[in-house]
Point group: C2
Chain length 94, copies 2
Amino acid sequence: MIEDLDPVIHAPKRLAAMAVLSTATTVTFPFLREHLGVSDSDLSKQMATLERAEYVEVRKAGRGRGATTTYRITRTGRAAYDRHRRALAAILDG
Amino acid sequence: MIEDLDPVIHAPKRLAAMAVLSTATTVTFPFLREHLGVSDSDLSKQMATLERAEYVEVRKAGRGRGATTTYRITRTGRAAYDRHRRALAAILDG
DNA sequence: CGTCGCACTTTCCGGTCTGGCAAGTGATGC
DNA sequence: GCATCACTTGCCAGACCGGAAAGTGCGACG
């Protein structure tokens, strides 16, 4: 029930991030920032939280100006996300 | 998007409470407490939050030992809940 | 070459949310 | 009387949240 909701994923911004990550194979930092409408620092922290949980993998290409940080969902991440979705559905549909 | 998620409803316990309230016409305090697996004080506060938002109505029958407090979802509450569900669905299904 | 701008990250910090514990109220039942 | 049910309220500590600002790395532009 309630306890099946993953607090790491339940936070709105991280939920939206996971939703995108679950459908796209790869997403960049700027894209996510625009998509979620959050600040650099905010997104950086949200993604760090997802990383710490090992729900996403980071790939850094280059440094400095042209740099691109891309995220990918991990197996664990996908499993956690699916579980979360199911928990949500269970609550919502009684 | 994210901004369509109602923070009053998004909190897991309150989400579960609203889900029950949305299907049952009337729910008692003890039932909700058991159903959500929370303490008296916790539930009391969660419901007070929903009341303040005018998402639920309270009806108190009697006082003291045999007392029963029952909750009912309001029109506003139902509207907010539906909106929240749609927002969730929009996020989850991209 | 210097400086501007992009792409992040990290630190600091105030504010909100959360939830337990404990005490208080009202009234019944043993 | 005393335990019990049904709540409510106050106190409070810990978690989380997100903005602001400063820092790093490096390519682009004049």
